[in-house]
Amino acid sequence: MAEPILQLKGVKSGYAGRLVLQGADFVAGKGELTAVIGPNGHGKSTLLKTISGIVRVSEGEISLKGKRLDTLRPDQVVAEGVIHVPQGDLLFPGMTIYENLMMGAYLTREAGSVAERLERVFTLLPKLKDRRNQVAGTLSGGERRMCGIGRGLMAGGEFLMLDEPSLGLAPIVIDQIYEVIFDLRHAGMSILLVEENAERIMDQADSIHLLDNGRFAWTGKGAELMARPEIVEAYLGA
């Protein structure tokens, strides 16, 4: 395994009066594609929100390259290089694609690096360039997803978290989105991916982690998961 970039130790977190993560231990490797799978409502999104600081840690530690994240505010976590592309995109609906992308680079003050990143995002997701002046509230599902990912990339972070990037999209659009994700990974980005459909990332993921009731119940490679049909069946109903 590559050297770790993100590490969780016994993390507990949740919402008012409801603990969701109940002691999660987890490591993601630098430059790797790490996948988190698990049934609905078992805390996958909460895991990402906890890492990005939107949900507070009540016990345990989160660190990025050895630096504690769990004591930081969400904006400070972003400044450390963590990008969170949330489930359901959460675009700014009244802003254009261009303004959404600029919000992604909110913490970057040098105009030069912003322009450079914009160029890279437009190369990776050319559709965004064509539609740069369209208001986000009027985009199709696939365009919204691309805008969400593009906006995340504008931050220029080194650890990218994607929450169910295939959710609600047609198969052909899902393929396009995953092509982009795999490209990013081959370009050396560290990616944490939440995906319901394990088969989709089986071949590409460096490690797969199964989240069950707020704890990691199983960790391994895609091939190992395939060899354990009972796990797939029990947790994912495939």
Binding site: A16, S52, G53, I54, R73, P74, D75, V78, A79, H84, P86, Q87, G88, D89, L90, L91, F92, P93, G94, M95, E99, M102, M103, G104, Y106, L107, R151, A155, L167, G168
Partner: protein, 292 residues
Amino acid sequence: MDVVIQIIASGLTLGAMYAVATVGLSLVYGSLNMLNMAHGALLTLGGYMCYAAITHLGFHPIFGLVAAALVCALAGLAIYVFATLPLLRAENFETNIFIATIGIGAVIESLMLKSFGPYPIPQPLAVSGSVVIGNVHIPLQNIMILLTALVAMAAVALLLQKTRAGRAIRATSMSRDAAQLMGVRVGQIYAQVLALSGGLAAISGVMISSIATLTPVMGGDPMLKAFIICIVAGLGNVYGAVLAAIVLGLLEAATQYVLGVRWSFATLLLLVILVLIWRPYGLFGRQQVVRL
């Protein structure tokens, strides 16, 4: 014809004052989901501060206005630090802050009553003279108000549309979580918005008191109208609020002329009821966002 000019002139003046009062309220609601019931008291505070700066401290009228705006911006900041911030940490923020700001408003109004007394005081920031259009004399004061409001609105629009801070304010009002994920420190945004709203309240308070008079309760009526305008426009929609303010100002001037002053508020309320039956989210209100 003269009547129409008269109605348009006073309607635009009313609308301009309402617009400045409403924008602050709308910004605060849009970004924090906070109904600031102390907004009217901030208006009053602004009016008295301008008066005090000019009369007691000998400020030039322009600086009197600026001083009033600064004091009220600080008051807005204080509301953030001492009421919004602690209440945000607990549950039921929207109800709690509603009640808390009623209390803050009452305190400010009592302070004004104690310091300046219950009797109406004229606002010294006033210009005399008038221009004549047709056979109608339009006081320069009204034109001043219109211009001041235009400048204030243009400045707010420029801030919201063209600056980094403004974009962050808009982003926060569209999705607080997403704004945080972009690295926006939302606490700072809230503080800025409350300060800005306080400053705008001061400007509007000075304008209103310059055609009426200063009294400790002068903020109540414009605040009520600002709320009505906000609701008609759709809570939190800043540009819609400006438009609605001007339309309602014109409408008020027209009803005052046609039906008499005592009908103007009733007409306003009737209109609100009709609008809300037709469009429950307000004229420009956000549709419910479809979430996956």
